[in-house]
Symmetry: C2
Subunit: 108 residues, 2 copies
């Protein structure tokens, strides 16, 4: 292996630092379908606790992938949605999901 | 959100179960550059311990993404390489890396 291999590792490292945390990919996948309230996300993502969902949404907010949007109401509410930066992840997540369907499905 | 959102989550779940573990993406990224010996991988992937690298290579072998190949020698050696299933991940990992370069680089 050469410097290029080092390069590939380094390019992927920040992605997996972020997406490698449990639930993060699923939160993004859910928000790809459109903005959602906390309660909708909690219901859609099987098994996530409210505490973990809050933590992941905050992390995704900190890196500028998700934003919190206050709905004017009534009734007043809050929804989460992807920023442009977050939406730009969609092709890559779609490619991952397509790969999983083709190559992991038979094991499950 | 509707059933489609559930679908997106479910499609991504097996991928992140696998890639979400620390080092897994980096091991795959390194092997995308070509077959490598254990010592080369350990050197390329900054900070991974031999124990963790062994564990990740075994997991990737179990799901059929990486195979162990004995080099006839002399000197006899072992290298790790991607299977066809593992190579099929490359476009998705490239898309992730491209996204990271465009959208995460400015924070680092």
């Amino acid at each position: 292996m050469d410097d290029q291999a080092h390069g590939a590792c380094n390019r992927l490292e920040p992605v997996f630092d972020l997406l490698g945390k449990r639930w993060t990919g699923l939160v993004l996948g859910a928000l790809m379908e459109g903005p959602a309230r906390f309660s909708e996300l909690a219901r859609t993502i099987d098994g996530v606790s409210e505490r973990m969902l809050t933590e992941r949404l905050n992390e995704l907010g900190d890196v500028g992938l998700v934003e919190r949007h206050v709905l004017p109401g009534p009734p007043v509410g809050v929804e989460y949605r992807l920023t442009e930066r977050g939406k730009a992840l969609e092709p890559a997540l779609d490619a991952l999901a397509a790969w999983a369907e083709d190559h992991l499905a038979e094991d499950r």
